[in-house]
């Protein structure tokens, strides 16, 4: 049983579903989404089995097939405590968003197929242990997301999709340069990430330049100031499901990249430049919070909070790069923060989608009094908001607290500054809750009523996870911590 390629199955199950859709070409919405949801559920099951099989710390459940032996590239998959939480997050979020968007009436089969393609690409990127394979999956996420925004978005989707595409393509080009540098720097030349992790190949100026290219690539993806301007644009135009995936999963590729590439493949360069990265992350977090506070569109507001939260992630990783002092807490916190942010922000975007379906506007100036009108929707939104502003017992707290712990050891002043972001986030969520949900019930209500079964099935599990992670983070932290100890020990 242990030789069964479970990882490949997990990665390619959604693609199979997509192929099935293209083969059958179901006309109806129901059939398309039945296939889509079924596939996503099976994928989640497979990911759960990967978890159940055990991930001791280092790379486990390796799969390797020759691919392009001439240049040392191979089909290599493996999972560790950094990638597994993200894989689980991906599987959960895709299932939730597919359930949520099951009312998409415009070309449902194409939509589901694209989503499934995107899921394969995301899972593949997290599980790939080969630079080339990673890059290919990384690029496919770009293409998939582009079509989802351009095809099913609102307002001015083409323009937003183009901005997203160009921005991230430029980023991935720098990633390609860095990959080439890593490949050419390794002796013997190889794309095998495990070999590169075990013996970081570059040193001196070459490592610094490579890390610079990596940082730029992932700073765009994460995104950090000033490379973030594509994010609010893309979010505003994307459909709710697209936003949830974009914020929930795709941004994590940036954080994952900072850990897997920056921290593990160019550790010395990262350590050397970590103060600058720390500074940028702090600025990004605070700037993102302020920019969010300045928004009137509730979706744009949540989009900007991603800049804030992902700034914490990079802060945690950079603190770990300045090891040994800041190592353990910072890295643990950063990985958990990615999961928390995925769940919380994914949930928030779905809730905003439900809100938009009912009110047909996202302008907070025009909304008000929704709490008495839609108690369940409002209650869940308030809960998710408080999770997002870092309330203890909810998902972000254990992550952010560890990031603060890790950060305080290496940069007390920067950490104190980072705390300011927390209060701004609080202010913006309170303002949003006050303006949108509190107040006298509006005169005209949507015939849709409160959240329906479809929406509850999509959002409910996410909310449950928010509470679970908040109360018992150990179920993920145990995994993360084991790997983190290996990473930090490997680079002492």
């Amino acid at each position: 049983m242990n030789t069964f390629p479970l990882l490949s199955l997990t990665v390619f199950l959604p693609l199979l579903g997509a192929a099935l859709l293209l083969l059958l070409r179901p006309r109806g919405r129901r059939a398309a989404f039945a296939i889509g949801i079924g596939t996503a559920a099976l994928t989640l099951l497979a990911a759960g089995l990967v978890w159940a099989r055990g991930v001791p710390g280092g790379f486990a459940q390796l799969e390797e097939l020759p691919w392009i032996p001439a240049i040392g590239a191979a089909y290599r998959l493996g999972v560790d405590g950094v990638s597994l939480p993200l894989v689980l997050l991906t599987a959960v979020l895709f299932l939730a968003t597919l359930i949520y968007s099951a009312n998409t009436s415009e070309q449902p089969a194409s939509f589901v197929a694209l989503m499934l393609l995107l899921e394969t690409a995301c899972l593949g990127a997290f599980l790939a242990l080969d630079l080339l394979l990673f890059y290919v999956f990384f690029e496919v996420t770009l293409v998939g997301m582009y079509f989802i925004i351009a095809g099913w978005g609102h307002d001015n989707p083409k323009q937003a999709a183009l901005t997203f595409f160009i921005y991230t393509l430029v980023g991935s080009l720098f990633l390609l340069l860095a990959i080439l540098a890593l490949y050419l720097g390794a002796a013997p030349h190889t794309f095998d990430m495990r070999a590169l992790l075990a013996h970081p190949p570059l040193g001196g100026t070459a490592a610094l330049l490579t890390f610079g290219a990596l940082a730029l690539a992932f700073a765009i993806k994460t995104p950090l100031f000033p490379f973030h301007t594509w994010l609010p644009t893309a979010h505003t135009a994307a459909p709710a499901a697209g936003s949830a995936i974009l914020a929930g999963v795709l941004l994590k590729l940036g954080g994952y990249g900072f850990i897997r590439f920056g921290l593990q493949m160019t550790p010395d360069a990262f350590r050397q430049l970590a103060p600058y990265v720390l500074g940028l992350a702090v600025f990004s977090a605070i700037y993102g919070a302020f920019a969010a506070l300045g928004q009137t569109d509730i979706k744009r507001m949540v989009a900007y909070t991603s800049v804030n939260h992902m700034g914490y992630v990079v802060f945690g990783v950079a603190a770990a790069a300045l090891r040994p002092a800041g190592g353990p807490f910072g890295l643990d916190g950063a990985v958990l923060q990615m999961v928390s942010h995925g769940i919380v922000t994914g949930g928030l975007f779905l809730l905003i989608g439900a809100l938009q379906d009912r009110t047909h506007t996202r302008d907070m100036g025009q909304l008000g009094g929704l709490a008495p009108a839609y108690p369940v929707l409002s209650g869940l939104f308030i809960l998710a908001s408080f999770a997002s502003l870092g309330l203890p017992a909810l998902a972000h707290f254990p992550a952010e607290f560890q990031i603060f712990l890790g950060g305080y050891q290496v940069a007390p002043v920067a950490t104190a500054l980072l705390l300011v972001g927390l209060i701004i986030t609080t202010a913006l969520y309170l303002r949003a809750i006050q303006r949108v949900f509190l107040g006298e019930q509006p005169a005209v209500l949507s015939p849709l009523g409160d959240l329906g079964a479809r929406e509850l099935w999509a959002i409910g599990p996410l909310v449950a996870l928010i509470v679970l992670i908040g109360l018992y983070p150990e179920f993920l932290l145990g995994l993360i911590h084991a790997t983190q100890r290996l990473i930090m020990a490997g680079h002492e």
Partner: protein, 457 residues
């Protein structure tokens, strides 16, 4: 050298692919005289296939024929294996573009002659073969370029002709110095340590001038955009691929014999030319509104990448393999791009909305262009990666870095076309007539090669 029937027979068998190419060209000419175009096309395709098959049979051999004047090695085999299918695809493109015009059959014949010239260049072990190959290639090229009798076509052809004759004259003039100092015409003689450096250097400059024009290396490239724009698209496609591959393989043959650490620091010179070609080609391509001109400048840039392979030669066999892989990738992606251009139009405006109008053509062109940039896992990436490796192995890290940076620049070039296809709104322009099976076949073939090449080499 010994003589005798056995040797002659062996030598002829060794150059069988080239002989088949010659017969194909002649046969196509005969078919044209008989006014049997379909037969001519069929004959040409069959002949090219046979040449390829013959080359395939010899794969692995590493020897010489005709007293060392013709080298039967990986370069010559692979030149046929790449050029024969490429020429076949060009014939199909020509079929779509020129079907029914008076000199349709002549084109097939000329394409084969040109391919023969390129194949001879690729196996050259002797200065005479080098000149012969270049002339056969150029002459058919002149005739092809002048095909359309428009003003632009004539101007382009004339420019090509003038450049060709002048540079070939310089080439022959310079090679006389080599013959003079070595006493014979064999390339292997150049390895002798006692040659006067000045004459050796001058011969090399002349060689670069003559070959550089055919391969559109900066600063011998000036004919390229005008000629491409004036000539039929199928001919432009041919000119961008076949002569170039022949010439770079010939340069590689010279590079095999010319000592890198000798009096002539030729890798350094070529490295400088490579950077200049890449940068110049990309910068000017960025400024083009006409897709054919854009591709023309892009071939100048890609010529710079080919030079990387020649620069890396002294470091070992890796460079030769890189050259071959890149040549195959380049042939597929460039021909594919021209094939889409042929069925779409020449200006950027013609490409507006292509991505939604003809989904496969748009996707295929995107793949070709991204492959030209060198994005994994497309064929262009494999070629460029091997080229970078070879260059770095030869100690030219700065050249590899410059090439990588140029790849970044080239993304902007090709992205403009992609952007027009997907983001430019729906253009009002109609396509250039119906797409024939021939053109479609070319696109599909090139697409498959571009996508799958990495998995098979």
């Amino acid at each position: 050298m010994s003589s005798g029937g056995m040797d002659m027979k062996r030598d002829l068998l060794l150059v069988l692919p080239q002989i088949v190419l010659l017969l194909t060209a002649v046969g196509a000419l005969v078919a044209e005289m008989l006014r049997r175009r379909r037969l001519g096309l069929a004959w040409t395709l069959g002949g090219l296939g046979a040449a390829g098959a013959a080359a395939l049979r010899q794969l692995g051999a590493d020897t010489t024929a005709f007293s060392g004047t013709f080298r039967v090695d990986a370069l010559s085999h692979w030149s046929v294996l790449i050029l024969a299918p490429a020429a076949g695809l060009c014939c199909l493109l020509a079929r779509q573009e020129l079907r029914g015009t008076p000199r349709e059959g002549t084109v097939y014949s000329l394409l084969c002659f040109g391919t023969l010239g390129a194949a001879l260049l690729a196996g050259t072990g002797d200065l005479m073969f080098l000149v012969l190959g270049l002339l056969i290639n150029s002459l058919s090229g002149f005739a092809l370029a002048a095909y359309s009798k428009t003003k632009a076509g004539t101007e382009g052809a004339l420019k090509y002709f003038i450049y060709g004759t002048v540079t070939t004259a310089i080439l022959i003039f310079g090679l006389t110095y080599w013959v003079g100092i070595t006493g014979d015409t064999l390339l292997t003689s150049l390895a002798r340590p006692d040659l006067p450096p000045l004459a050796l250097a001058f011969g090399f400059v002349a060689l670069i001038t003559g070959l550089g024009y055919a391969a559109s290396i900066f600063p011998f490239h000036f004919w390229t955009p005008d000629t491409f724009e004036g000539a039929p698209v199928s001919v432009a496609a041919y000119l961008s691929v076949v002569p170039k591959i022949g010439v770079f393989f010939a340069l590689a043959q010279v590079g095999r014999s010319l000592p890198a650490n000798g009096p002539v620091a030729w890798p350094l010179v070529l490295a400088g030319l490579a950077v200049a070609s890449m940068t110049f080609g990309n910068l000017l391509a960025l400024l083009q509104q006409n897709v054919v001109r854009l591709l023309a400048y892009s071939t100048i840039a890609q010529a710079g990448y080919f030079l990387l392979g020649v620069v890396g030669l002294p470091a070992g066999a890796g460079a030769r393999r890189a050259l071959i892989v890149f040549a195959a990738a380049y042939a597929a992606m460039n021909l594919g791009a021209f094939a889409v251009v042929l069925s779409t139009g020449k200006t950027l405006a013609d490409f507006r909305g292509l991505g939604t109008r003809r989904v496969f053509a748009g996707a295929a062109l995107t793949v070709f262009l991204f492959s030209l940039v060198g994005i994994p896992p497309l064929a262009g990436f494999a070629g460029k990666l091997l080229l970078f490796e070879a260059t770095m192995a030869a100690g030219y890290t700065w050249l590899a870095v410059a090439a990588v940076l140029n790849s970044v620049l080239s993304l902007a070039v090709y992205l403009r076309v992609v952007a027009a296809m997907y983001f430019g709104g729906t253009g009002e322009t109609s396509d250039m007539g119906p797409v024939s099976w021939a053109g479609q076949a070319v696109v599909v073939t090139c697409f498959l090669v571009t996508v799958l090449l990495m998995f098979v080499f």
